[in-house]
Symmetry: C2
Subunit: 403 residues, 2 copies
């Protein structure tokens, strides 16, 4: 195949920069802060086995084609999850997706024509940046500070919009325990963002896979929940969430809520994408959520991630001191840091791999103007012991390149 | 949202014409020849339960994120399936997909720019037509006769190609037990098609979900298998298959083989589509295929479909006689017929629903110039008794509109 055979965005497309690190992660003895994978020791195997037994009592529901928008039992269970998170909704408002990634993909399909502008918080989740690029959308970054997305900066961006660009169609953000920054938007910022969205008729894409993993600080309502108090805002929010981080990614169960006209088109898109999700996994997820296991088990995950995050933050402070500055996350799976001036994260990574430790250099998370000093460290997968050892190895790697 | 908010192909998109019939199918007492769903009574529940027990002995493989291209154990098992079908291949040649539909979707993504021409056999599977339309491809139909795709007609089409159209990028066909026609391409036709593809450097998209369901006649090698004997052909074939029709659609396990440059880009696309498939389902599918249950159970499905196809064909001949002409399929799930002149299938359907029987009018299967007399009848889902009764009801419905 000649390269011109392919669709424009795929002619010279490269894969995920994080997935490209996977082969190194499986080296014997490697300690990885790189992946965004949940700790397998925290999977609720017993609870899931019981849920499976319950689901399997009706094999036909597991094995037959199912509805495009998801099994009714799972839509009901997920609507209950959303209500427990302060969102008024019915079963019919939920579309089950293959992780929240599929929700984003469906949305971009139905929404983005080549050249359409999507605002994205920066730094941002690389698969979001890549999905927008492959949809031939144009990414315009929005700055983030310690309180999350900088709404004042956004307001100014929108007020002085460059006339050579088309109006932005949407803004993508992970407002709670963002990937990669680990940061969370304050409530005041959230309200300001909703008001700004109403003023500019800007669609907000709220990606919310981590909010269930809060281990410190005060809970913040989702943009979707808060939108109920801001007139006109509820119709401007697409909300994605997922069981991947709070139950198990291997089930590929996520969900979305969106204005009806968007939802209807996403459902039409889904009919040509994969017809429907796996009924078997959906039935297990529904059975799991219907029981009391979920509420009982989630605190175990949270307690473990709290301890791991503390271990990572303390270890980094002790081993690296002034060489790395970072903010302590209040939940989620990620810690974001910046090396001191003159230390390039990509250079450190090379040395770190030789020292048996890995992380993701910040560059992967920028659409443009990458910060070469930035790093993302995940504390979710390694054990406490590995975290302690890993921070020491990281310090050795930094020393080796700073020499 | 204003309609102009949406991407061009989704502004006025309508959903699947077959899925639109689903609400009627669940009416009490309805006998449906409409859906393409396997008979749930034929699901190998015991075999799948054992496979699940085996897969669950390694819960982490079930529950963690997995490789984009599929679990290694499943790729190995599916490569063995392909080798048993006469295709020389390795594990690495297989990409696991969410049904064969996802394979098609990934391929269209990486291949189709707006306006690109895709040749499609006519009549064709509606989700293929819709997927190409939503990718903004241009569908040019290729005729089909009793021996399947009419390769002579195609040869002429290609020789006298309309200069106002861009060169066709690919041809889509279901060469064995096609949906909807039920027809199978002869071996001579297959060889001629491969030679034609080589001559015109035309990519062949072979969708092959049904070939495992042969209950009469002589087995035909897939285009992919035959391509090994036609110099230059193997690099021009994308092959999709699926466990949906021979095991269970609710697992959403399909797979594809394609030239390396296509495969690589499909894998990149997949990273933004859903990251990876459900490991749990993949592990169960691998465990199932590794055992001897598959070979033992498949003949049960085939025997049942043979009996059902006979019952449908005989019932139609007895009840409708000259009012419906059709060819007897040698496998698969579908029978394609044409009402006698003056009988419109869509009109019959309305009456049929009132009489408690359903089918899909042929119109859904045409990109253009639909044959209003055509019907697709699936014999897979209803019981033998329902098939007998259903053909009588259908005859009553035809009488009621012919009056």
């Amino acid at each position: 195949m000649n390269v011109s055979f392919f669709a424009t965005p795929y002619r010279h497309a490269a894969g995920s920069p994080i997935r490209a690190l996977f082969p190194y992660m499986s080296r014997p003895g490697m300690i990885s802060f790189a992946g965004g994978m949940p700790d397998p020791a925290l999977f609720d195997r017993d609870g899931l086995q019981r849920a499976h037994e319950k689901a399997w009592s009706n094999p036909s529901a597991c094995l037959q084609y199912g509805p495009t928008d998801g099994l009714p039992s799972l839509r009901a269970a997920l609507a209950a999850v959303m209500r427990s998170r302060g969102v008024a909704c019915d079963d019919g408002d939920i579309m089950v997706t293959a992780g929240s990634q599929q929700g984003l993909d469906l949305l971009l399909r139905v929404m983005v024509d080549p050249g359409d502008v999507i605002l994205v918080e920066q730094p941002a989740y690389p698969a979001t940046l890549q999905a927008i690029r492959l949809a031939q959308g144009r990414i315009i970054p929005v700055a983030v500070d310690a309180d999350g997305l900088d709404v004042d900066a956004l307001s100014e961006q929108l007020a002085c919009w460059d006339d050579r660009l088309s109006e932005p169609k949407a803004l993508y953000t992970v407002p709670t325990f963002s990937n990669p920054s680990g940061l969370t938007m304050s409530r005041a910022r959230r309200v300001a963002l909703l008001e700004l969205a109403v003023k500019h008729r800007l669609l907000l894409i709220e990606d919310d896979p981590y909010s269930g993993l809060r281990f410190a600080g005060e809970a913040q309502p989702s943009l979707l929940a808060l939108a109920q108090d801001v007139p006109g805002a509820r119709d401007l929010i697409v909300h994605f969430s997922s069981l991947s981080k709070i139950l198990a990614p291997g089930m590929r169960v996520g969900w979305m809520l969106a204005p009806a006209e968007i939802m209807r088109r996403c459902s039409i898109a889904r009919q040509t994408v994969d017809l429907c999700g796996p009924g078997w996994m959906q039935a297990v997820a529904a059975a799991y959520l219907e029981g009391d296991t979920f509420a009982a088990h989630l605190p175990n995950i949270i307690a473990s991630y709290r301890a791991k995050c503390d271990a990572l933050a303390n270890g980094l402070s002790e081993s690296l001191g002034e060489q790395l500055t970072f903010a302590r996350p209040q939940g989620g799976m990620f810690l974001w840091g910046r090396f001191a001036q003159g230390i390039d994260a990509a250079v450190v990574l090379k040395a770190a791999i030789e020292h048996g430790v890995m992380f993701v250099p910040g560059e992967a998370f920028y659409a443009s103007n990458a910060d070469a000093s930035a790093v993302r460290l995940s504390f979710a997968t390694p054990t406490l012991e590995q975290i302690g050892e890993g921070t020491k190895r990281l310090a050795q790697a930094v020393s080796s390149v700073a020499d």
